[in-house]
């Protein structure tokens, strides 16, 4: 097991290397000149050339990438072209809020998704099941912008249950996290439903009932752990999908997270920030996947970690 983790961490480094390389390459290929972005519209050609040279953007690709890598190894993510601030400072000021929102969001997603999925499985082929199915499709099909705005108008403006965006107190995180949770829960609820249906038919459920266990106990202690196995890797995947929604939700709710930083950076070809944020999210995704992989055999002991 420790060996397995070590090996996976080794792969993780390779993956990060790969991600940084591809990201860098793509940014290099995108026809949008960061030096011109920096120089602004009144700049003369020589100003642009000057800036390009200073940023090393006139070097061949492999040299640029190599420099970046060397700095990266020393923990230096570079400076934002636009903000002229250390990328690490930009990221670290926003990482906390993003992680907070992400944790709550995924927490709500799981809570809502798993419980609705269970309900749907138990009420299979009834009106409740159909309703929940439609609901999950509505959630998954809703553009984050519209949904966030609707929730904001409804719960913050009209009902005044939550503050109108912002960051700081616990009450601030609730609405954006619930929004993310509701929209993303469809995946979980559909997955849980389908694997629950399978598990509910297994003989050992009958055994559990034969012991006189209450319905709830059977559900949570016997059905759920068996049904949750296919859902665990979802959490790893979710981080990736989640970041997409995060960008929008953060901006609607004025949440000072990485999503906003990334979006601005992409629009203005702020390469160091783009690569920095990409690397951070890559780290998060890789770690989440590793954790998911480690969790699965804990839940289902029949599954072995690394069997060749």
């Amino acid at each position: 097991m420790p060996i397995y983790i070590l090996r996976r961490l080794g792969y993780a480094v390779l993956i990060l290397l790969g991600v940084s390389f591809i990201t860098y390459l793509l940014l290099y290929m995108i026809p949008a000149d960061p030096a011109r972005q920096l120089a602004g519209r009144s700049a003369t050609a020589e100003t642009v050339a000057n800036i390009r040279a200073q940023l090393g953007l006139d070097l061949p690709f492999y040299q640029q990438y190599f420099h970046y890598l060397m700095n990266l190894i020393q923990g230096d993510l570079g400076r934002s072209y636009i903000q002229r601030t250390e990328v690490s400072a930009l990221i670290s000021s926003r990482l906390g809020p993003t992680m907070e929102l992400m944790a709550w969001g995924i927490g709500f997603e799981l809570l809502i998704g798993v419980s609705l999925g269970m309900l749907a499985a138990i009420k299979r082929n009834t009106a409740i099941d159909r309703f929940l199915m439609a609901l999950s499709f509505v959630g998954v099909s809703s553009p984050h912008f519209i949904a966030s705005m609707l929730f904001l108008y409804l719960f913050a403006v009209n009902l005044d249950w939550f503050p109108l965006g912002g960051y700081g107190e616990f009450e601030h995180v609730l609405l954006p996290a619930l929004t993310l949770g509701l929209l993303g829960s469809g995946w979980y609820s559909r997955m849980v439903r389908s694997s629950m249906i399978e598990v509910l038919e297994q003989d050992f459920i009958r055994t559990a009932r034969s012991k006189g266990l209450t319905r709830l106990r059977v559900l949570f202690r016997h059905v759920l752990p068996n049904a949750i196995v296919p859902v665990i890797p979802m959490i790893g995947i979710d981080i990736g999908i989640f970041i997409g929604g995060l960008v929008v939700v953060e901006s609607v709710f004025g949440w000072p997270g990485l999503g906003q930083l990334a979006w601005q950076a992409i629009q203005r070809v702020d390469i160091p920030v783009i690569v920095g944020v990409t690397m951070i999210s890559a780290v998060a995704i890789v770690i989440a996947n590793l954790i998911a992989d480690l969790l699965v055999p804990l839940v289902d002991p029949r599954i072995e970690l690394d069997k060749s």
């Binding site: 995108i30 026809p31 949008a32 000149d33 011109r36 972005q37 920096l38 120089a39 602004g40 519209r41 009144s42 700049a43 003369t44 050609a45 020589e46 100003t47 642009v48 000057n50 800036i51 200073q54 400076r79 636009i82 903000q83 002229r84 601030t85 400072a89 930009l90 000021s93 926003r94 705005m149 904001l152 108008y153 403006v157 109108l164 965006g165 960051y167 953060e250 901006s251 609607v252 709710f253 004025g254 949440w255 000072p256 997270g257 906003q260 930083l261 601005q264 992409i266 629009q267 203005r268 070809v269």
Partner: protein
């Protein structure tokens, strides 16, 4: 009512503030913030485009029109307490001009004698700038230049203290120290910035407001909602298009919205080097094909149709010019004359944020009415700019979202980079690739008319440059956009301050709280 000191206000923006370094900051969001933190030798009367003295108490122009001698105000202190001297002026100008600073505005200083040497990296000192004494500085230009005082009013010419710049190095933009009406209190990256009143400000009684908190990362639609509630005092991003009509037509919000003109023209560039747009008749036909009124209607009347490059508020604007009429029949006839009776297919580049693609689609439909098929390429801003700067890439570019807003209120600023030969280079902003040396020369002549009495003649000369350019039809001027700022009920001060044409978007120094 008279201005009342005191009060704290909240201003929202969607994007984080990039930098507050006056040599670097160059977007409409930090433009006026920097103006409030820093001062230069020149400024404008609040709410107008009229030049005024700022840190300079007076100036003199030599007879050859080349040397400006500025007398500085005495006793002006930087936020760090030190007094501002002539050496600071020299340092500040040289810092901006120095290529190491990577200032996007360095090029504005090219009229100053010795700029080329600094720009080439041979020296760090501008030969033309001399410190005469602590309160006098002389600036010699290589040739007379009528725009020079405007250049001294740009943010790039703000006076900064050397010691603070050296202390913070590259992070000066996060720790700005100037002489301005406000000083930076706190900056939580991605969350908010606080401007505090500069108690030592040299102008008596200004500013009025104690603290301004800029909350960043605020979605404009939400910001507006918060403003309606009274949580926010100024929605920095204005009214989002989707909310415009609702807001405008809601009697409850009457008076909150301030409308102003800006030095802006939205235009469609026609690349004069790409066939068939290289044919004048084709360009003229396009000019006649586009229904500008309808486009203005699509953006809910937030602009006025334009017929020439210069916006009406700019000196040199020709009120008598009628431009190309909207006349599809005539346009078709022109196309036929040019040999394109069956039309042709071309591309129209546009930035991808609302409402730009919609405007492009309206043009697309107008063009198709005269037989031209324009395929829309809707891309991120940076990609459009890039495509425009490559000669054979973009036949047509709709400038919306990236459009020219003048750096200073002078027609010269509307020519060189976007219609002159200097802009028609790879990576330039002259996306029409229009280069008419004759007109360039006329511009140069005009710019050499520096004397006060020549002002009107100069403006007229510039005006004719633009009108003559229109004969070649490198652009289709579409409209002049208006600015809409919303403020809460408790905000006071002249309306023009909220749509200040120079202190874009708001002149924070003079507004006040009821």
């Amino acid at each position: 009512a008279d201005p009342k000191p005191g009060g704290d206000i909240i201003v929202t923006y969607q994007n984080d503030v990039a930098t507050l370094d006056p040599a670097i900051g160059y977007d409409w969001q930090n433009w006026s913030m920097i103006k409030s933190l820093f001062d230069g030798l020149m400024d404008y009367k609040p709410g107008t485009t009229e030049l005024a003295l700022d840190l300079a108490e007076s100036y003199e122009l030599s007879d050859d029109g080349k040397t400006y001698t500025f007398k500085l105000r005495e006793g002006v202190k930087f936020h760090n307490g030190r007094e501002m001297k002539a050496s600071d002026v020299k340092y500040s100008l040289e810092r901006t001009a120095n290529p190491k600073t990577q200032s996007p505005g360095a090029g504005f200083f090219s009229p100053i004698l010795g700029y080329d040497a600094v720009s080439a990296g041979d020296t760090t000192e501008l030969e033309g700038v001399t410190v005469v004494d602590d309160y006098t500085v002389a600036i010699e230009l290589s040739a007379p230049n009528a725009t020079f005082l405007h250049v001294m009013g740009l943010n790039f010419a703000s006076i900064v203290p050397k010691e603070a710049v050296e202390e913070h190095g590259a992070d000066f933009g996060k720790n700005p120290v100037g002489t301005g009406a406000y000083e930076l209190g706190e900056w939580a990256l991605g969350r908010h910035l606080v401007f505090e009143k500069n108690e030592d400000y040299y102008k008596e009684g200004v500013p009025y407001i104690d603290t301004i908190t800029f909350e960043v990362g605020q979605e404009p639609m939400v910001a507006l909602q918060r403003l309606e509630r009274g949580d926010v005092d100024i929605a920095g991003d204005g009214i989002p298009p989707a909310k415009f009509l609702q807001f405008k037509n809601n009697p409850a919000y009457e008076g909150l919205m301030v409308v102003g003109d800006q030095l802006h023209t939205g235009y469609l560039t026609l690349n004069v080097t790409i066939p068939p747009l290289d044919n004048l008749k084709v360009r003229q036909a396009i000019n006649m094909a586009i229904n500008k009124d309808r486009i203005v209607r699509i953006i809910n009347g937030r602009a006025t149709p334009a017929n020439q490059p210069l916006p009406p508020a700019m000196p040199g604007y020709d009120e008598g010019y009628e431009g190309y009429p909207f006349d599809p029949e005539k346009a078709k006839a022109l196309l036929r004359e040019a040999g394109y009776e069956d039309g042709f297919t071309t591309e129209l580049f546009v930035m991808n944020t609302d409402p730009q693609p919609r405007i492009a689609q309206a043009m697309q439909q107008d063009l198709s009415n005269i037989g031209i098929t324009a395929e829309i390429r809707s891309l991120a801003q940076a990609n459009v700019i890039e495509a425009g700067g490559v000669q054979d890439q973009a036949p047509m570019v709709w400038s919306g979202g990236m459009a020219w807003i003048a750096d200073f209120p002078d027609p010269a600023n509307f020519w060189g980079p976007i219609l002159g030969c200097e802009g028609a280079v790879p990576g330039g902003w002259n996306w029409a690739w229009y280069c008419n040396e004759e007109l360039d020369e006329m511009g140069d002549t005009a710019d050499a008319m520096v004397a006060e009495h020549q002002r009107d003649d100069r403006a007229e000369l510039w005006g004719s440059v633009f009108i003559e350019a229109m004969a070649d039809a490198p652009w289709v001027p579409i409209f002049n956009e208006q600015r809409f700022t919303v403020r809460s009920e408790r905000m006071a001060g002249d309306e023009s301050l909220y749509v200040d044409p120079v202190h874009v978007p708001v002149n924070y120094d003079y507004i006040w709280v009821k």
